[in-house]
Symmetry: none
Subunit: 417 residues, 2 copies
């Protein structure tokens, strides 16, 4: 069998973004663990023609299509009709399914509403799947080149039916679940394009393992995924390629498999038993916040100062007012003085500072929005950096905070010139 | 024009659920505000044939298709190729787009990587859209019955191009944005269940407008949506119900329609011309970070101190060491002293402090994980609060930061007992 899957979520509340589509994520993860990574996720509202169109696409491009939602008893639950439309079939009442619904209400000791009868409808060639937890039977049918499973939208009901009907079908064809053969390498300090060039040969189309690059707020993630499922050979190959990616990214690579930059930095500082102090201007506490979100951060973070106003820089961190006057608050000199002041005042071995223009206002031709100076103080040695970031205020702040954290990491590792 | 839209997100990281698809939500909301509610959302990975298949479906079922992502310079950025495949066209180099990319690197003073040249490719009949913030030009073209816009995946770049290229196209066809017949009321300081009880009668199934409640990190959002579209009568009714919701939530309601708590607090402080200082222990800079992310925050935020270590509390904020010794750092007395110290040292009229146990370690029977004390100093008057939050470290920190911000808001408004 061709190992491709697609997932279709039905519901206006998901389409409108009012409700997070946790079902799709859960189905995707369960399929991925079994070597059947979904290639297409779709979300349609409660309209027969949209559901039918999405099913038409999905069943032509994947071997397995899992649909969730739209099986309720109200007028806006039209997934059954959408499936019938896509298959060109009529809806018929399934007597076994109807008996199941009637029995469900009997167990609850409640009368069945006439509208629940609609839930026993199925396209002619489909079969109904029993629902142990609710009134909505699921559906399974062949359509085009695919097997389609339709599951209820209620997460608990969806989960049971996924486990009882869909996953056995998958495992029969793809084998039992194995640890995913996937490694992520995280890096900071080079543009996405350069990262891509350094590993271009590993990213050839069709290569196994598959190598992909994404970037978010300056953090590059290279994902290495085996195409041959979770077989031991595939995992060994993923490990080999991931190690090669790390070698090529050099000092830029800082962690694996979801460890964040702040976690890597806190881990490093704790390992070396170093205490850190922070002096932030344009990042406004974000560096402190990132560090402090890491459990155990109190073992290394002595204090942080958000010195927005110039007087705060002088009064709190001992930056000479004349220095600010002469060079401006956004300058190499002030960045260094901020880091030095933070380290000395806190008695820390490490301190990092940020001073820049996060925007949207405050920029000039000489010092545009996005310009940030960094100072690093490391047991008496000092480094300064000047970087021009692009993006909106939030992006500039986040990228600058990442840069500051990475500066600490590189300094502690002795990787700074 | 038929008022239908579809959105396609491209990227393995979104398909895999590693990254939330905020772009699709943002595009959907912008279109919805202009009366063009998307009917189909799709997400495809970085494969030409999947992107082409999704584009084929989308362009046959909607008049407008907005695609985000896959325009980067690496080999796995194949949205350009997917669009060409769907259209049956070749990719050609766009010389104007190439000039734009070259100019972008010149402005940054960095060399252009050869791979960035790929970003100037476009299907023959497409036109390139300039990208002010990054290297990836967007694309616009006609395909089947639809107009397709392809935007970069980087949110800030996506946003600018959406506003400059897509929304003018939409407004030309659908008219200017009408105020959506939807109002959100945001509140803090009561449990979701209590909020639900106070407005239970407004939430009757089938009622028009429809009223729903969600909660995230202690912030309640009540959404009031007209079922009768954006007609004036529906809007008036939405406004009436939203006002009734606000009345019932009383001082807990702090803003509307997506304004965040930190935005509301900064707005209030700027309106009253009040300067604020922050003293954070267990929130570790998060309060400062939330305030500093608001444009214009430098007009009110004088300074923030992250005083993790007890010595920092004493040395930086003048908290009497004997007070800490006597009551513990996590106490009403220290919370008040922290706020007082922050205000006095910074010369601020307002100061708020946090001291507590964010976990996962550090809790005791008497002072469990989640216990946080707050101090508020307001031109000489003082308030303290003690709250026990539940959740993991991140949740406790975020809920405590929200609590601190709301304490400032209520204090400034004179709503504290």
């Amino acid at each position: 069998m061709e190992r491709t899957a697609a997932i279709l979520s039905v519901g206006e509340e998901i389409l409108a973004g009012d409700v997070a589509d946790t079902n799709a994520r859960e189905v995707a993860e369960a399929l991925r663990q079994r070597g059947l990574a979904p290639r297409l996720l779709c979300c349609a509202g409660d309209r027969v023609e949209d559901i039918a169109a999405a099913l038409d696409l999905a069943t032509r491009s994947a071997a397995l299509v899992v649909v969730t939602g739209g099986l309720g008893p109200t007028r806006d639950d039209v997934t059954r009709a959408g499936l019938a439309r896509a298959a060109g079939e009529d809806l018929v009442e399934d007597s076994t399914a109807l008996d199941g619904i009637i029995a469900f209400f009997q167990r609850l000791g409640r009368p069945m509403a006439e509208s629940n009868r609609l839930q026993a409808l199925r396209p002619q060639s489909a079969r109904a799947l029993p629902n142990a937890l609710g009134t909505a039977p699921g559906l399974a049918m062949e359509l085009h080149s695919a097997t389609v499973f339709v599951l209820p939208g209620v997460p608990a009901e969806m989960r049971v039916m996924l486990e009882q009907a869909v996953l056995p079908w998958v495992e029969e064809r793809c084998g039992a679940p194995a640890p995913a053969a996937r490694v992520k390498v995280h890096a900071h300090g080079l543009p996405e394009s350069e990262a891509g060039e350094r590993i271009a040969d590993l990213m050839e189309r069709g290569a196994d393992p598959q190598v992909g690059v994404t970037v978010a707020a300056g953090i590059i993630t290279v994902t290495v995924t085996s195409r041959s499922g979770a077989a031991p050979a595939g995992r060994a190959e993923v490990e080999r390629v991931a190690a090669e990616v790390e070698r090529r990214l050099g000092a830029c690579a800082f962690a694996r498999d979801g460890e964040t930059l702040e976690e890597a930095v806190v881990r490093l500082l704790l390992e070396r038993d170093l205490k850190i102090a922070l002096a932030e201007s344009c990042t406004g506490g974000l560096v402190a916040r990132l560090v402090a979100r890491v459990p155990g951060a109190s073992g290394t973070l002595l204090e942080g100062t958000v010195a927005y106003a110039n007087e705060a820089k002088t009064r709190r961190l001992g930056v000479d007012a004349a220095l600010i006057e002469r060079h401006g608050a956004v300058s190499t000199e002030v960045a260094l003085a901020l880091a030095r002041g933070a380290a000395v005042q806190a008695g820390a071995q490490v301190a990092v500072s940020t001073t820049g223009i996060a925007g949207p206002g405050g920029g000039s031709a000489e010092k545009p929005v996005g310009l940030v100076y960094f100072g690093l103080w490391l047991a008496g040695r000092e480094w300064a950096r000047r970087v021009l970031f692009t993006g909106d205020r939030e992006t500039i702040q986040l990228r600058a905070a990442h840069y500051a954290l990475d500066l600490v990491r590189r300094g502690v590792l002795g990787a700074l010139a």
